[in-house]
């Protein structure tokens, strides 16, 4: 419960940031530091149980039971140490922050820092692998935001750090999933105790590699070391906390956590030792080269983490003791040093060694900032491994641990030697840091140093605490024994461990190694003039950031190529792929063979061949021809042949509809084609052949599909049901119609909606985009004064005829509508015919304005849909939507008439069909239509003929009636 309390306190701190910040501004750091101090106290209070009794504290609550993930926390020795570090150092740094920043809003900083403390605490207490991953990634995100929001120069490094550490996070996730799947639990402590690690080296190695990847990215190990110095763009408190004391230690924590599983795994040992030591040396060398104190500290962190990784890789009890103690020591001195950098930067205006020197303060900066200098010296000595500081003890233990490296006998001494080399550089760069910043000055000052003074207690206090702790703990190092023993015991999976930490324990090898490091370090300082001879030199041709960016650019370039593959707004390019896939499907199935029954009954009739001849002629013509008109009518001809096919197959209703639709399609397409060139685009021979081949294969596939997959079974059950029951169920004897309006009226409703929407979107799109103007009279060659030109006179015959035909068509349309349920007909066919009546009126009119049908046709569509819906809702009287109610009524003339709600439904269909045809005729029939012309249901009147003179003038509307055009008004031929 106390663990949950810990998390809750930190979560509360996150939320408290908002009111606190509002009230206190940057000083919100103080109360927040108090919160973290309190939680540190809470952690310390657990020492008797965790360290003394050796019983971990546990807490568990289900989180995602579906996948077995729990909110399970556990605090053992390792967890205790890291929790303590996170909260303790966090408290110091928050306190430090309250003075570090100038007055002003720092809400994001405080919120994220406390959030980070929460995430980090969760991470080190997590006892569920998924939970571990969650907190792991949360620290990554917090780090990303803290670096990035520190300023614009932090943006790119933040993203680099994020991407790098996320790679590790994903490795951790994968490892977590693998472990959970293999062991059947997500509980970390159970997983680590599972026998699988010993039994299955392949599995162990896989997981080990993933864990190592995670830890290396997080702890900036070679070759992922580049992000950490890069991340120094962040504010100093962020660097001090995340990138020195806490977050980067997550990798160390992870390695320690997993040591029980992998300590016996050579892959684990050698990888950690090798990469750790390389990192330690490389980091130390780079640190020695820096002018920027912060960069120096950052590389130093990389180097120290390398030592830690290497010593963990050894995996023995002593090694783990060393790791635990050095983690603590490093947290203290590195946090202190970073804070010192901040102090220097803040007070002296720079953190560059050259700048500071140029301040020209006699005797160095220590004269003005003695406290800070002392703090720096204390922390530095600890880092350099000088007795009696804690760093000395821990470094000595690290050497001791490394000497126990497993494998051939030479490995231990070799590892120790490399570690000493790293430590030589450590001593040297520490000297460079402390001496360069505080003890040296240039004889020729070129900067004003008047404002440089010691920082206030509030500001300098926190680093001082950290540095002094390094001294105190060094002197009283046995205090740490219980902690180190618990940590080592748990990390190695033993019940007990012996730490034996002491400032002095005889003339051991590691003591001499420490002394050697110090001596050689001093020599190195002397030899390189405290690093000046090496500073700024490029030791490698490339650095990590360059490699990273090149990789990213390469991926983006590859991505652009991938995008280019499909970058086209030409429909054929996108249509061809699915077509080819269908052909491929057909090909594969043909190749593998498909067992199908024999054809059922006689599926062909001699008459069919006539239709094949006709349709083939039409299709070949449509493919071949370049005249758009011809293409249209040939496709229409194929459509009529399809209608004939439907007649032959006994689908009279359908054939009827197909016929009328085909005609109306031609009518509407004609309105469109007059706006376009008379001929289609030319096809190149290559395209002709390629598309022709695809077309032939597609046709073959379709034919094969039809041949093998249809016509090979008897009547379906549904078909039998409809034929046998439709009359009784619905009272209708036109079975197709009863299916449409009774059995599957929902389909018909959908179809009706589709039709209606088509009408609406025609209006909507034209309203937003306008329509290409029909330049029909460009094709005309006769004079406007010719008798053949005049529209009014020459449509006279058509009009007379259409007035004669109109009543007939309307009568037929209604007749078809009424008899639909029992005979060929129905709302759709009838509606089409009704629409055809309007089309005739439209076509016969002398001008589009006259032809314009003054009906609110969108409303007709709406009414159609509404009526159908309403008739469907009536069905609820009998238990369901669209349930047809029917009965017989006696009408005066007709006699007994079968009345059904389906008729009302069909009436809706009728209206919608008519409405859509009206819409198409009116909207597409205009000579010109500009954006905004076609508004909801009404068309602004526009002139029928394009203006002859000034094309820019808006159309005149009502001055004179534009309805009748006179030949002399427009003048002669163009």
């Amino acid at each position: 419960m106390v663990l949950l309390l810990l998390l809750l306190v930190l979560a509360a701190a996150v939320f408290a940031t908002f009111p606190l910040h509002r009230a206190l501004g940057r000083a919100a750091g103080w109360p927040l530091a108090l919160v973290l101090l309190a939680s540190t106290g809470l952690v310390l209070a657990q020492a008797p149980q965790v360290l003394g009794a050796g019983t971990p504290i546990e807490f568990a609550k289900p989180w995602m039971p579906e996948i077995g993930v729990e909110l399970r926390l556990r605090m053992d020795g390792v967890g205790w140490l890291f929790t303590l570090l996170v909260n303790g150092v966090g408290a110091l740094i928050l306190a430090y922050s309250a003075r570090y920043f100038p007055p002003g809003p720092r809400l994001g900083f405080y919120a994220l820092m406390t959030f980070f403390a929460l995430a980090m605490t969760g991470l080190v207490m997590a006892d569920d692998v998924v939970l571990l991953f969650v907190f792991w990634e949360l620290t990554t995100v917090a780090s990303f935001l803290l670096i990035g929001t520190s300023g614009r120069s932090g943006n790119a490094p933040a993203i680099r750090a994020l991407l790098t550490t996320v790679v590790g996070g994903l490795a951790l996730m994968t490892a977590a999933i693998l472990m959970a799947l293999r062991t059947g639990t997500t509980r970390l402590s159970t997983i680590l105790a599972d026998p699988v690690w010993a039994e299955d080296p392949a599995f162990s190695s896989t997981v080990a590699v993933l864990v190592i990847l995670a830890a290396f990215t997080k702890s900036a190990q070679f070759p992922f070391h580049y992000w950490l110095p890069d991340a120094m763009a962040a504010n100093t408190p962020v660097s001090a906390y995340l990138h020195a004391a806490a977050m980067v230690k997550a990798g160390i924590f992870l390695l320690m956590r997993f040591t029980p599983a992998f300590a016996e795994l050579p892959l684990w040992n050698y990888t950690l030792i090798a990469f750790g030591l390389v990192t330690a040396v490389v980091g130390a060398v780079f640190a020695f080269q820096q002018y920027d104190l912060k960069k120096l500290a950052a590389y130093s962190t990389v180097s120290q983490l390398g030592l830690l990784v290497a010593v963990i890789g050894v995996g023995t009890e002593a090694a783990l003791v060393a790791a635990a103690v050095h983690t603590l020591a490093h947290a203290l001195f590195k946090a202190a040093l970073f804070m010192v950098v901040g102090l220097v930067d803040h007070q002296a205006g720079s953190r560059d060694l050259r700048e500071i020197r140029r301040l020209g303060i006699a005797g160095g900066l220590r004269r003005r900032m003695p406290v800070t200098a002392t703090v720096a010296a204390l922390a530095g000595l600890s880092m350099a491994g000088v007795p009696p500081l804690l760093g000395f003890v821990s470094k000595e233990n690290v050497f001791k641990g490394l000497l126990e490296a497993p494998g051939p006998a030479w490995v231990g001494p070799a590892a120790g030697t490399v570690a000493v080399i790293a430590s030589v550089f450590t001593f040297a760069y520490t000297y460079r840091f402390v001496h360069g910043a505080f003890w040296s000055s240039s004889p020729r000052p070129d900067r004003s140093a008047t404002s440089v003074s010691e920082a206030g207690y509030g500001f300098a206090g926190p680093p001082a605490v950290a540095a002094v702790l390094g001294l105190v703990l060094g002197l009283a190092v046995p205090v740490l024994n219980p902690m180190a023993e618990r940590a080592a015991a748990e990390a190695t999976g033993e019940a007990e461990a012996e730490a034996g930490l002491a400032l002095w324990h005889g003339l051991s090898a590691d003591l001499f190694m420490s002394l050697a490091a110090i001596a050689l370090g001093a020599l190195l300082v002397w030899w390189t003039a405290s690093g000046e001879r090496l500073a700024g030199r490029r030791l490698f041709p490339v650095d990590g950031v360059i490699v990273f960016e090149a990789l990213r650019e390469g991926i983006m370039a590859l991505g652009r190529r991938v995008g280019d593959l499909t970058r086209s707004d030409a429909p054929p390019r996108h249509l061809v792929v699915p077509i080819v896939l269908v052909i491929a499907l057909a090909g594969i199935i043909t190749a593998t063979g498909l067992e199908v029954p024999e054809p059922y009954g006689e599926t062909s009739s001699p008459l069919d061949w006539l239709l094949i001849a006709l349709i083939t002629a039409s299709v070949i013509g449509a493919v071949y021809v370049r005249s758009r008109t011809a293409g249209l009518v040939l496709v229409g001809s194929a459509g009529l042949t399809t209608a004939l096919w439907l007649f032959l197959l006994g689908a009279f209703d359908v054939a009827f509809a197909q016929m009328v639709v085909e005609i109306l399609t031609v009518v509407i397409a004609a309105l469109i084609l007059r706006r376009l060139p008379a001929r289609f685009h030319r096809i190149s021979l290559r395209r002709y052949l390629a598309t022709g081949a695809i077309a032939l294969f597609a046709g073959l596939s379709a034919a094969l599909g039809v041949f093998y997959l249809t016509g090979r079974r008897g009547r379906s059950e549904a078909s039998q049901y409809f034929l046998e029951n439709s009359e009784e169920d619905t009272g209708g004897t036109n079975v197709v119609n009863t299916i449409l309006v009774d059995y599957r009226a929902l389909d018909t409703l959908g179809e009706l909606v589709v039709l209606g929407v088509a009408g609406l979107i025609v209006i909507a799109v034209l309203n937003s985009s306008g329509l290409l103007t029909a330049h029909g009279d460009r094709r005309l060659v006769v004079s406007r004064s010719s008798a053949v030109y005049d529209a009014d006179d020459n449509t006279l015959v058509m009009r007379a005829v259409s007035y004669l035909l109109l009543p007939l068509i309307v009568f037929w349309s209604l007749w078809l509508f009424l008899r639909g349920h029992t005979d060929v007909g129905g709302g759709f066919v009838a509606g089409l015919l009704g629409g055809a009546a309007f089309a005739l009126l439209y076509l016969a009119a002398p001008s589009a304005s006259v032809a314009k049908i003054r009906l609110a046709y969108p409303r007709i569509i709406g009414a159609g849909v509404a009526i159908s819906l309403a008739s469907g809702l009536f069905g609820y009287l009998d238990g369901s939507f669209l349930r047809p109610l029917h009965g017989y009524v006696t009408l005066p003339l007709v006699g007994e008439y079968h009345l059904t709600a389906a008729l009302v439904f069909d009436a809706g269909v009728y209206l919608a069909v008519v409405g859509v045809i009206l819409t198409a005729l009116n909207q597409l029939g205009l000579e010109e239509s500009l954006p905004g012309d076609s508004t909801a249901g009404t068309v602004r009147p526009v002139r029928d003929q394009p203006p002859t003179d000034d094309p820019g003038t808006p159309p005149e509307v009502d001055a004179q009636s534009p309805l009748r055009e006179t030949p002399d008004k427009e003048g002669g031929a163009r």
């Binding site: 579906e66 699915p578 599909g705 549904a718 009226a745 609406l760 985009s769 009414a863």
Partner: protein
């Protein structure tokens, strides 16, 4: 007239979920109403469907299947509407998306375009229809009901190239709808029925039926934008208004995915012989999609390519066809609907406010609009699978599903692709939310210095346009949702598991339909 009339059973009201938006759409076409009332009417059906589907989720949470044979014809003859955990979940998610996207459209004024309201309402009715129907031909009809409004919306709102973009969308969808129809025909030709329940297991038994259903699934894959038939997505979705892109992204491809899941589960009965095709195709989809995204240079096109990539993730669940895989896929589907829509809306708010989505013409927005930044970042991290957002649960379960099924290549692809996902999200973040607005000069840029007030370091911009709250809210709602679904993943996980259960064993579904 008949004397004995039936009383409606509770399930008889399922069709109302389709009728309601249609009725409001018809009313909006029929009557001219004041703007405020129109907007209220526009939002009302979505809200009601949301409430209703929440209720449905409650009813089906224990595995109940609600089915109704429309017009009470006997099972196998009537068109059945069915709601189980999967469809209820999808209904709920789509209702929420419709609501949120409509709110956004109202905020940017898209709703003033002719017939916007009726079109969106019809679209949502179509989606509801596809999700509920258990009849393959009826599914075709409702797919058209949802497509037609989309054709219009794509071509009437957006940039100048919208018409050309609309052509790609219309033609590709028409082709696939026709292929779908041909598939329906082949299924009827071989199996003699189009009733999904009657077709249960038919494809597993008969190769002929499998071929017909395969044609349908092929058509749906194009609609879902699976590689290699994904190319149409980018030209179609980048030139229209953000609200429409968000709506279509959240609904259309996802409905196709739903249909693939359903058809494969019921008709193929999860036939394991064909799963490898899915695993290969969907892994490729993840990879190609994300690479495309990484290479793009505008917010919208990056997000559109991500759709492709994420579709691969979602469908991978179906291709694994294990309990864990299906659950993960369904969870991923729902998660992705919210997150992707949120991203489209938050970047849409930027596009609307600043008039561009080009990465090199934007910058520094996070400082001026911290909340918008937070909304985007939440969704972006969620999309990349980072905790504590829903994306991490989705990814963890999916990768677990793949590894459990022994598909370690697919799992590795999923993991690697999520790095690329993050990379492309950071591309947007880095140059749009961070960095400098391009018209200003570089600024002081030495913010690494101690004491430098970073927040104050922004260059003074002459009255940069601010994103209005109304534009921000829709994305915010979804961002909060992805957070909630991450922290409280169990709710969605258990529903997804329930849904997966019906897919693994469709017998309850079949019984309910044929009853």
């Amino acid at each position: 007239m008949n004397t004995s009339l039936n009383l409606p059973e509770p399930t008889a009201y399922l069709p109302l979920l389709i009728v309601l938006p249609l009725a409001v759409a018809a009313a909006l076409v029929l009557f001219r109403v004041p703007v405020r009332l129109e907007r209220a009417l526009l939002l009302a059906p979505g809200a009601l469907i949301l409430v209703a589907s929440t209720g449905l989720l409650w009813l089906v949470r224990d595995g109940t299947v609600l089915a109704h044979n429309v017009a009470l014809w006997q099972g196998g003859i009537a068109i059945p509407l069915v709601v189980d955990a999967f469809s209820a979940l999808m209904l709920w998610a789509t209702a929420l998306l419709v609501l949120v996207c409509t709110a956004f459209a109202i905020a940017v004024g898209d709703d003033r375009a002719a017939y916007f309201g009726p079109l969106v309402l019809t679209l949502s009715a179509g989606v509801v229809g596809v999700l509920m129907t258990a009849d393959v031909f009826n599914m075709f009809v409702f797919i058209e009901v949802m497509l037609l409004p989309a054709y219009g919306l794509l071509a009437m709102l957006g940039s100048r190239d919208r018409i050309r973009a609309g052509r790609v969308y219309v033609t590709v969808n028409l082709l696939t709808s026709t292929i779908f129809l041909a598939g329906v025909a082949l299924v009827y030709g071989t199996a003699g029925t189009v009733n999904l329940a009657a077709l249960a297991g038919a494809a597993a038994e008969s190769p002929a039926v499998a071929t017909g259903t395969g044609v349908i699934i092929l058509a749906l894959s194009v609609k879902a934008a699976v590689v290699p038939v994904h190319g149409w997505l980018a030209p179609s979705y980048t030139n229209t208004s953000a609200a429409v892109t968000a709506l279509l992204s959240g609904l259309h491809t996802k409905v196709a995915i739903y249909a693939i899941y359903r058809l494969y589960a019921v008709v193929f009965d999860g036939d394991t012989r064909f799963l490898w095709i899915g695993v290969a195709a969907f892994s490729l989809t993840m990879l190609i999609g994300v690479l495309g995204a990484v290479g793009e240079n505008s917010t919208r096109s990056i997000l559109v390519f991500h759709m492709v990539s994420q579709i691969g993730y979602i469908l991978l669940g179906a291709a694994l066809f294990t309990e864990l895989g299906l659950m993960a896929g369904i969870f991923y589907l729902i998660h992705n609907m919210f997150v992707k829509t949120s991203l489209f809306l938050s970047t849409g708010a930027i596009e609307h406010t600043h008039g561009t989505g080009a990465l090199d013409r934007l910058g520094g927005i996070a400082k001026r609009e911290p909340l918008l930044g937070a909304v985007f970042l939440a969704a972006a991290l969620s999309l990349s699978g980072l905790p504590p957002f829903s994306g991490f649960v989705a990814k963890v379960t999916l990768v677990a599903g793949a590894l459990e099924a022994g598909q370690w290549e697919a799992a590795a692809t999923a993991v690697v692709v999520s790095v690329f996902t993050l990379m492309s999200m950071m591309k947007i973040w880095g140059s749009t939310f961070w960095g400098d607005p391009p018209k200003e000069e570089g600024g002081d840029g030495d913010t690494g210095n101690a004491g430098e007030d970073a927040a104050g370091g922004g260059v003074a911009i002459q009255d940069p346009p601010r994103v209005r709250t109304a534009l921000l809210l829709p994305g915010l709602v979804l961002a909060l949702l992805t957070l909630a679904l991450g922290l409280g993943a169990q709710v969605l996980l258990s529903l997804s598991a329930q849904a997966a259960g019906h897919l693994l064993d469709p017998s309850t579904y079949v019984e309910a339909v044929l009853r």
